[in-house]
Symmetry: C2
Subunit: 333 residues, 2 copies
């Protein structure tokens, strides 16, 4: 009897001590990836840096991986999802702004004419972003984003925006973390637009989200401190801004970087040129049927110079149509 108990205890202990062994050897950590070159190079890189005794071994603290968001972790067509948020906010705030009825670009948004609203280019977008992202406290804004993301639907798929994340990339995030990586978002999107939902959707906590920002100001209101969001641009985390954002928030160079557009190119260059093993990957949107197909000539998420650089430097380019079994989690069987 005693022996039996000890045997059982020993077995339980063996399982408890080495829970990952059986799973790691049998289960595929990237089940939504076809067995093409992309998947193989990812796995080969992770094994190189994470395996004790490997000549390219990297200590856990230095296993930093950075991910763009729009077009890399979730879709970005027919326009950045945050733009839909801006338009919905303009509609919601319109009663407090009767002057918007006669003022562009707001008037066009209220008339449902998005093309005209965007005709003013960057300047018009920035004006709308400021009008809709500032003026609240940080806590009020967080609640606004949470409410919107929980209910707003994509105009084409009718899905929640958080359902339009890429299942293969979710698996990649989890696979990297299981191998000691710390995963960060480095996106041109608004930092406070992303933080409220990314922990739940990507497993990435607020302190590992880097993005564009407006300034905030500490203030006492009725004896309670608040942070007020100001209509003043603070930082644009895009293009050459991405390595700057990485240095500002992370303070060390990543060893792996994942993007999908020319706006990610400097982030990939910065990552690629550090010492030791490095991994850079571009998601190439090639799947007009299951998602969208676009690259060199797209207004949103243009991938032109980056595609040339990737070829020249041997970076991994994911062909969504051929490399991914499914695109979105809801397509899982």
């Amino acid at each position: 009897m005693r022996r039996t108990k000890l045997t059982i205890l020993a077995l339980i202990c063996a399982i408890s001590l080495f829970p990952g062994i059986a799973a790691a050897q049998s289960a595929d950590p990237l089940p939504s990836w076809n067995d093409t070159a992309a998947k193989k190079t990812i796995k080969a890189f992770v094994e190189r840096v994470a395996k004790q005794g490997s000549p390219d071994f990297v200590p856990v603290a230095e296993r930093i991986a950075v991910f763009d968001n729009d077009g890399t972790l979730w879709s970005e067509q027919p326009m950045y999802f945050q733009a839909f948020f801006v338009f919905d906010r303009i509609k919601a705030l319109a009663p407090q702004h009767p002057e918007w009825k006669d003022k562009e670009p707001f008037a066009s948004v209220l008339n449902g004419d998005i093309n005209s609203a965007l005709a003013g280019g960057e300047h018009a977008l920035l004006e709308m972003a400021m009008a809709t992202h500032a003026g609240t406290t940080t806590e009020e804004f967080e609640k606004i984003v949470k409410d919107w993301i929980a209910t707003a639907k994509h105009p084409k798929t009718g899905r929640l925006y958080t359902e339009m994340v890429y299942q293969p990339m979710l698996e990649l995030l989890a696979y990297l973390r299981a191998n000691g990586f710390k995963t960060f978002i480095v996106s041109g999107g608004g930092i406070e637009f992303m933080r409220p939902w990314m922990e739940k959707v990507y497993g990435i906590p607020p302190e590992q989200v880097v993005g564009s920002s407006i300034k905030t100001k500490f203030e006492m209101r009725d004896g309670k401190p608040v942070l007020v969001r100001l209509p003043e641009l603070d930082f644009v985390d895009d293009g050459a801004g991405k390595p700057v954002g990485i240095q500002m928030h992370i303070g060390r160079r990543p060893i792996a970087a994942f993007g999908n557009s020319d706006g990610d190119l400097q982030m990939l260059q910065w990552t690629a040129t550090g010492p030791g093993a490095r991994f850079c990957l571009y998601v190439h949107h090639t799947d007009a049927e299951r998602e969208w197909a676009y690259d060199r000539k797209s207004g949103i998420g243009r991938l032109d110079k980056g595609l040339d650089d990737a070829k020249a430097k041997g970076w991994t380019v994911v062909d969504m149509r051929n490399d991914w079994k499914i695109i979105y989690p809801f397509q899982k069987k």
Copy 2:
């Protein structure tokens, strides 16, 4: 024989599975703290938030603790240690700047007359900081800091600056982390002056360091990307800037905050007024013999309004002379 093997295996397993139990129950996690009220309130708070089933239980992801550095984790007298770095840099850079011989505040520094150098107040300090902290790449600056911190000695103690950290606070950092806290630095010091040594000295990685900063710019040099440090102020992480820095870098409100001066007051207020259990602590410099004694009238690390607020709000105030058995690690027996 088999039974014996199993017994041993079971014992090894039991120890492996529950390694902390014996240690946690017997060893004191804060051995350099006297058994005064300060120590008791710290331990009571940690147990309240970390114990499963406690009405004040806080999930691990939300156990954020923020620490000021100068005067909270290491000494700051007779002036901020980073100022010594600035003066040493001016001396090192003087050969490349012959004009400094006749230009204040640089001339006074080169003549060893620090008081005159500082007579120009904030403006003079900022000018010296820009002249010595900008103009390099981020990697060059990191090396400069590492070399300096490894060799420069404090004028009074003759010790390395990293030896002048507070042993009780090192224990507190480790104790919090052992209880699931993520520990962050939120300091008025330069972020890139702190990152190169804090991981080794405090166990805090670069991505958990928030500080003041100058702007950087991405640039290609001989086909290699670099980040160039510009002589342009980006962010001052002091006073009302601290909650702003916390939001920018961490994106959620800490549940525990540790400071020593009025420059930390808004950080403590911001921390104190969130929902649920909260902990705020001021280190009060009361030990003229083993360290320095200063508070309401000090030019460096003034603690005046904060001392009143701490009393009014019931925050913990550490009396260094009475609450700490030793100050520095080299005083350990």
